[in-house]
Amino acid sequence: MKTSRRVFLKSSIGGAALLAGGVSVPGFLARTARAATCETGQRILVVVQLTGGNDGLNTVVPFRDDIYARLRPTLRISDAQALRLTDDLGLHPEMRGLKKLFDHGQLSIINNVGYPNPDRSHFRSMDIWHTANLIPEDARDGWLGRVVDSESRETDAPGALHLASAALPLALRTQRQPVPSVESLEAFRLPDGATDLAGLIAAPRPSAADDLLYVQRVAVASCTNARRIESVLRNDRSDSSYPDFGLAGRLRQIAQLIGAEFGARVYYTSLDGFDTHARQALAHGPLLRELSESLAAFQADLAARGVAEQVLTMTFSEFGRRVAENGSQGTDHGAAAPMMVMGAACRAGVIGGPPKLDALVDGDVAHQIDFRSVYATVLDDWLQLKSTAILGKYHERLAICKRA
């Protein structure tokens, strides 16, 4: 039986609480149990970063557009190949998993997303997306870091978690609460024979000052988390349902953490390799397949764990790619591109329509939707925060989420 946090909490209301490992926690630390707990059913945002600049035109394909066909002599996806979403747009043929989610009403595609005066440097454009600031040098933190720092409740749970082998992205940079960055869930398991640790940590001290009590509380919470994660892993049967991709493995661990009520509001991972300057087809198809199948398996797993209603997943990339392919059967850095938002709360559909390829700016797709509008929607309508406080100004919201 899965010990839910709620059951665990109820048992903590009288003086002593039981940790999942069967260790008694004295009343003076019982606040930990409350503090470590996000309300059951708390809304969670999962962000998947597509690193390198994903070719939006071959992801959400304007298969009817003659200009697209002409400028992409070797790379174009034909009418017959595209997985049709609307009369004008279809997904790359490797994206069957996400097509199915679209058909089941769980995928929202926002097309032609970008920002004014697009920067074509990977670093600077990524910084712009990460900070939600068109002059990222002015920002001291990331937009999701501000979500973490905006948490006013006393909580021992980390506000966000980065699960990838890369360094912590600027998006998660905070000014107050550190955001853990781990390569795998192993970092949150305790070694064998560590069962007695929680008891030793929790035992009352004769004269503990406030700060020591704080450390005790956090340490007890971390042992509780470890137990919970351990128990989720022990009973986990989701292995077979995920494809054998790196991204799938990371998303699976995120699903496990969500299942274990780890407490983070934001999870962040990435898929690298989208900088396809040469022989793009060899790389891009497999990447989109990894993305699509991993996301589909993740969504199915969330549903199986009974938490699908709680989770919204969003993808983004630092820019799209030039409309005209280059001489090496690749594409160079471009501008606007689609974002995808997946979840039970999504209003399925395509927001924004086909790209205007007859009105390119410097050879690139011009943006019609500011990426900060997508952020604002996710902040206001999903995380129920004040987007103006996080983003510094008002941005129009889009019809991505179903009405609550």
Binding site: P180, L197, L200, D211, G263
Partner: protein, 433 residues
């Protein structure tokens, strides 16, 4: 009573292992058995003198230092970060290492923007060079440091188009704190630093970019340049106080009282901002050894990781230490902002604590740690092994559950000593310095 009045040891508060370990932990990292024994034998004054002295480095540090420039030259920032950890692990000048780290957090510069390991390496060397010297010279050097010039947009600060980034942080974070300057002071100070550029990784003053007109900063007018602004800034009473607060938080207590801050600020002013003289006064003070100030600061990840390696004499790989501290929330050379790391309680949440517990288990569970061999070197018998490890890590002040365990089970063989050490360094008390 002046909190900086000298501490006088007495029968009630003798100079002993506990006090020596406290001083060494604060003025460096968690000490080894040999460091504690040396300090106990030498006495307080001599220990402080040698912490501040220009001592000879270990061979290991010389070997490491030969590696640093090539790492920086290859722009290998991960390698450089690992080098820094190796150096902190092996240095004999633990206070110098600690203060270099302190200034890295004070003049917090991140390679995320600088994107050049050579510049970051140069900056560490600048911080180290002035770490125990004159704060004025430090400020002058930092204002000319190429990494800082890139970090706070000095390169864009040009006559007629001033960039205020450095001037603002100079006042807000490096020297005065919010509320002690006006927006006008910032605008005028920025003009004084125009033309302070860098070229080919060297400071370059470009006269044609410099604004030679009159500026007014803190009510003083003239054709001011950057050094004038630094002098005017340091003449503000808020400056000594600002640095005093930071030193008090680092060395005495996370929420220092007013009397202590005032006393340290006075010492800074009287010594003309001589960092060594100020630290000497702090380390010899009553406040330093006030019982209420023992183990009240939450260790930073770097203190935690390097302290374990030094006190347990681990053969810890530098890169492993760097990665572990990074996972715990302190990736050196990439502070979260120019404000540095917030520290204290912000270091710990249920995830970062778990990462500490796991790192503790890894540190003592394998080949890196040889408890019996270490204890043998100090002539400690198997019968006293467990107790000695408690002395080494927690000054013998075991919390009740650990004290019970020490009484109840013998813990003499290798496996038991490892497990015991793991419990000691996983304890809430060990997270505090």
């Amino acid at each position: 009573m002046n909190p900086l009045a000298p501490f006088i040891h007495s029968a009630a508060t003798p100079w002993n292992r506990r006090l020596a370990a406290h001083l060494l932990r604060r003025a460096g990292f968690a000490p080894s058995e040999s460091e504690i024994r040396t300090a106990v034998a030498a006495g307080l004054e001599e220990t402080v003198r040698s912490l501040l002295a220009d001592g000879e480095e270990s061979d290991r540090v010389h070997e490491l230092d030969a590696l640093a420039a090539p790492l920086a030259e290859r722009d290998d920032i991960d390698g450089l970060r690992a080098w820094w950890f190796g150096r902190m692990r092996h240095t004999r000048r633990s206070l110098l290492a600690r203060m270099t780290l302190f200034w890295h957090n004070h003049f917090a510069t991140s390679n995320v923007k600088v994107r050049d390991a050579r510049l970051m390496f140069q900056q560490i060397r600048v911080l180290e060079q002035h770490a125990l010297g004159s704060f004025r010279n430090m400020m002058r050097a930092v204002a000319r440091d190429p990494a800082m010039i890139v970090w706070l947009d000095g390169q864009q600060n040009i006559n007629g188009r001033p960039n205020e980034n450095f001037a603002r942080e100079l006042f807000e974070l490096f020297a005065l704190g919010v509320g002690n300057y006006t927006e006008r002071d910032i605008k005028e100070a920025a003009r004084a630093f125009t033309g302070w550029h860098q070229k080919n990784r060297r400071f370059q003053y470009v006269d044609t970019y410099h604004d030679h007109h009159e500026k007014t900063v803190f009510g003083r007018s003239g054709n001011l340049d950057g050094d004038d602004v630094i002098d005017l800034t340091m003449a503000q009473p808020a400056c000594a106080r600002w640095i005093a607060v930071k030193l008090a938080q680092e060395f005495i207590a996370p929420a220092p009282d007013e009397a202590l801050i005032a006393a340290i600020a006075l010492k800074l002013t009287e010594s003309k901002f001589d960092i060594s003289a100020t630290l000497e006064a702090i380390f010899l003070s009553r406040a330093m050894f006030d019982a209420a100030n023992f183990r009240v600061r939450i260790k930073s990840p770097v203190e935690f990781v390097v302290g374990i390696a030094r006190s347990l004499e681990l053969k810890a790989p530098s890169r492993g230490m760097a990665d572990a501290a990074g996972q715990m929330g302190q990736r050196l050379l990439e502070p979260p902002s120019v404000k540095g790391w917030d520290g204290h309680r912000a270091w710990l949440n249920s995830a970062t604590m778990l990462i500490r517990l796991n790192a503790a288990a890894r540190a003592v569970g394998g080949d890196l740690y040889a408890p019996q061999a270490m204890l043998d070197r100090y002539g400690i018998s198997a019968a006293n092994a467990a107790e000695s490890l408690g002395d080494l890590t927690l000054d013998g002040e075991l919390p009740p559950p650990l004290a019970d365990r020490l009484r109840e089970s013998p813990m003499r063989d290798d496996a038991a000593l490892r497990e015991w050490t793991r419990l000691l360094i996983s304890s809430p008390e060990y997270q505090m310095a």
